[in-house]
């Protein structure tokens, strides 16, 4: 037996308990983080308020004939007469929807007939009709039909389609469809499609339909061009320049449903939800803020990731994220998100989270958050972390953060040294190389010609897109970039004068 009756363990334990924490930095705040069931009750409440959709009876022969007649009429009537077909479709309501959907997915109708059916489907104008259009956008293999559905759905004015349209942005490959998705989204005051439209417009040229649509969306939203609009959207619209309609309960329910999917086991649904939620406007942020307190650790952590990807648009959840620094699971995600959303009062909370005694994951994430904030006032604390003896990864992150805080000249040599010795120290050399790349680009923007040259040479070493490099090529590229910085560093620093 290995036990000793003479052990001093109990006494030592008492001594240890008495002295515990004497030299530790306290946790971010003493306030405990309370969680509760939030997503499920929210969905239950909204389901109850909105109610179940009314079942649509199977179409009669009479309805089929009417649909056929409306299609023929729409395809043959003059421009001024087509309204009559839409009026008739609207008067019939949802009962026509299965008929039009059947025509769209069948094989017996011509392309012209199918396109007319798609337009008439939109013309029914009900929430159920919008759902049918979404179904066609998901499943119809004819990109012409998908383009009509994407075009028409924005005119119907139902904001609950926004999440589904954003998801289509992720998966739609047809360049004839994406611009219409972007247009419809913009009509519903969501501008996630503008970046996609810019890509298509660049590919198709300045005379293209996509370029014209881009310009139209920008002017409608009060901007001179699509780039200006996109910049404001990506930066979070902090000055509230973008139009924002109040959102419906159906929209709110769709947001909660996406949040609910963050608990899925399969990451496929989780990834989709993260993408869609992070592409929504500010109106979704209060809902996300509530969800940060849900009992599911998956919901809490993934919602923080969503806010991180939202950037400035997520600022409305800053208070909830700061509270989340007291939750073991959520804290590191919350810390990085606070930096990414540029929450004005995040700095002090993040600085406290970098202290000795705080969980290492949170300390590191807090430094990454400070890196995103890039505030001059964080520099003294970050400098102290450079000398962390037992946590080289934290020191590396602090050096990288000092670059974005404006002190790249001060730490460039250290970053080069870290990247060069990373193989022995177990650190990731690439993050330090990226920080150095950021530093030279920042200098080049401010007119440093040598820095511009180094930036270009660094980028020229990038692997060919689409062809994964071998491990050896990867190593050689890293060595070449290290050599590039080694050679230029002294001149860069001296040039700074």
């Amino acid at each position: 037996m290995n036990h000793s009756v003479f052990t001093l363990a109990p006494v030592m334990g008492l001594v240890a308990m008495a002295s515990c924490g004497a030299n530790e930095t306290p946790a971010p705040t003493a306030m405990p983080f309370a969680t509760r069931s939030i997503v499920a009750p929210a969905l239950e409440r909204l389901d109850k308020t909105i109610g179940e959709p009314t079942p649509i009876p199977a179409p009669t022969e009479e309805l089929r004939d009417l649909a056929d007649n409306l299609i023929v009429f729409l395809n043959t009537a003059g421009p001024g007469m087509s309204d009559a077909a839409f009026d008739d479709a609207k008067a019939q309501g949802d009962s026509l929807l299965p008929v039009f959907a059947g025509i769209l997915s069948g094989t017996s109708n011509t392309d012209d007939e199918k396109r007319a059916a798609a337009r008439l489907l939109a013309g029914v104008g009900t929430p159920a009709a919008a759902q049918y259009l979404l179904g066609q956008l998901e499943s119809n293999r004819d990109e012409g039909i998908r383009a009509i559905c994407a075009w028409k759905i924005g005119d119907m004015g139902f904001d609950f389609v926004i999440p589904s349209l954003v998801k289509r942005l992720k998966y739609e490959k047809a360049r004839s469809v994406t611009p219409w998705l972007a247009l419809s989204l913009s009509k519903l005051d969501n501008f996630a499609g503008v970046a996609y439209l810019i890509t298509v417009a660049n590919l198709d040229g300045t005379d293209s339909d996509a370029a014209a649509q881009l310009q139209g969306i920008a002017i409608e939203a009060g901007f001179s061009d699509g780039y200006a609009l996109n910049s404001v959207w990506l930066a979070g619209d902090l000055d509230n320049k973008l139009p924002q309609s109040p959102r419906s309960q159906r929209y709110e329910r769709e947001v909660w449903r996406l949040i609910d999917h963050l608990q899925d086991f399969q990451l496929r649904g989780v990834d989709d939800s993260r993408f869609v939620l992070s592409s929504l406007g500010k109106s979704a942020v209060p809902i996300l803020g509530q969800a940060l307190h849900d009992e599911s650790s998956y919901v809490r952590s993934h919602v923080a990731q969503v806010l991180l990807r939202m950037g400035g648009r997520g600022q409305g959840a800053g208070g909830d994220l700061i509270a989340g620094l007291n939750d073991n699971i959520l804290a590191p995600y919350a810390a990085e998100a606070l930096g990414a959303i540029q929450f004005p009062s995040a700095e002090s909370a993040l600085l406290r989270s970098t202290g000795v005694g705080v969980d290492p994951g949170l300390r590191l994430a807090a430094v990454r958050g400070l890196k995103q904030l890039g505030l001059d006032s964080s520099a003294p604390a970050l400098r102290e972390l450079l000398a962390e003896p037992d946590f080289p990864e934290l020191a590396q992150a602090a050096a990288e953060a000092l670059v974005t805080c404006g002190y790249g000249d001060e730490v460039a040599g250290k970053l080069l040294s870290i990247a060069s010795g990373a193989a022995d120290s177990g650190l990731d050399p690439d993050t330090s190389l990226w920080a150095l790349r950021w530093w030279v680009e920042d200098r080049s923007v401010r007119g440093d010609e040598l820095a511009a040259q180094v930036t270009d040479e660094y980028d020229a070493l990038a692997p060919i897109p689409g062809i994964p490099p071998t491990t050896q090529e990867d190593r050689q590229r890293r060595q070449a970039r290290l050599a590039l910085f080694s050679k230029a560093l002294q001149n860069l620093l001296e040039g700074d004068g």
Binding site: N2, R268, S297, P360, G361, E393, D428, P463, T471
Partner: protein, 341 residues
């Protein structure tokens, strides 16, 4: 006085009991572990195996870096730098961690136990309990169960594929560890351990063990049959970028002669809505008519023509040179058969 003495005796008795029944020996509590490198001193052989494994490269592998945009696609981080499975929950989905991402799927991802309720480190899980070892391993049988791998490896249904296979339901059951963590030094009790090299699609011998390729002439034309004989899950499995393609060409002395693509075995990416899932289930034999064009199109190739058929495996679905599969980087010829009249 008697009361004071009684209290003293009672305290002495409590102290005695704590010392006798409490943690053993020097009773130093489990410490907090930060990095896989800390495991190296005592477990150098296992550490070296792991360093050569794909688990250790899940963050640094150039293919992953390229596919994820240097992890700008943060969705990939969950499985490529996961928090410890014992913390997120066995058979539950993993969550991404903040520290030591460079170590990928590290020692702690599988072995670190959650902290105790009082916040003290929970130690590590191992195959046996050992209160003398510096890491104080607790015996946790969950480590050997397929559910343990499921958090990451069932994202593409690999564990479900296994559950539906003869490997899980048959008489001679084999699970994840039997193939992917085989015993090292099985006869030597002192050094015997499960391999932490995790051989899989990265090891040619594993690919060769998984697949058989045969052929025959019937009704004047050639047929090839590719069979998943050795994998307890679909072939390929897991990452959707993994691809197996079957090629054929007339038999000749010219090693550089072009190949004809015959059939692709792969699960599509989520945005490839028109691409069928053609993974070869465990035990499945798939007969392919040899035709002049891919996937049965074109004309059947006469069995009067001597041909060779080969299966190539790659970890990326894009062939730069489809006519010369062996010339594409990373392509491995897994099986080849000559068919002569």
């Amino acid at each position: 006085m008697q009361k004071v003495l009684g209290v003293f005796v009672a305290l002495l008795a409590i102290w005695f009991l704590i010392a006798l029944l409490g943690p053993s020996g020097d009773a130093e509590p489990a410490r907090a572990w930060k990095s896989s490198a800390e495991c190296m001193d005592c477990h150098s052989e296992i550490y070296a195996e792991w360093q050569d494994s794909q688990h250790s490269k899940s963050w640094t592998n150039p293919l992953v870096r390229e596919r994820s945009g240097d992890f700008a696609n943060q969705d990939c981080i969950d499985c490529h730098a996961p928090r410890p499975v014992f913390i997120t929950g066995i058979a539950e989905r993993v969550l991404p961690r903040s520290t030591q991402r460079n170590e990928g799927v590290d020692c702690l991802a599988c072995h670190q136990l959650p902290n105790h309720p009082d916040g003290t480190p929970g130690g590590v899980a191992g195959g046996v309990r050992n209160s003398e070892a510096p890491c104080r391993p607790e015996e946790r049988r969950e480590l050997v169960r397929p559910d343990f791998c499921a958090g990451c490896h069932n994202q593409h249904k690999t564990v479900d594929q296994w559950r539906a296979s003869e490997f899980a339901t048959g008489i001679d059951k084999e699970d994840c560890l039997d193939c992917h963590m085989p015993w090292v030094n099985p006869e030597d009790k002192a050094t015997r351990h499960r391999s932490h090299a995790f051989p899989g699609g990265n090891a040619t011998y594993m690919l060769e063990r998984a697949i058989s390729l045969t052929g025959e002439a019937r009704d004047g034309v050639w047929y090839a049959t590719v069979t998943n004989i050795g994998a307890g899950h679909s072939f390929p499995t897991d990452e959707r970028s993994r691809t197996a393609d079957v090629f054929w060409r007339p038999l000749s002395e010219d090693e550089g002669a072009p190949w004809n693509h015959l059939h692709r075995i792969r699960s599509p990416y989520r945005d490839e809505v028109d691409v069928p899932d053609t993974l070869l289930l465990s035990g499945e034999a798939r007969e392919l008519a040899i035709t002049s064009e891919s996937e049965g199109a074109g004309t059947a190739v006469s069995s009067d023509t001597p041909i060779e058929v080969a299966l190539y495996y790659r970890r990326t679905p894009i062939w730069e040179d489809l006519a010369h599969p062996g010339a594409n980087r990373g392509a491995v010829q897994v099986a080849r058969v000559e068919l002569k009249p």
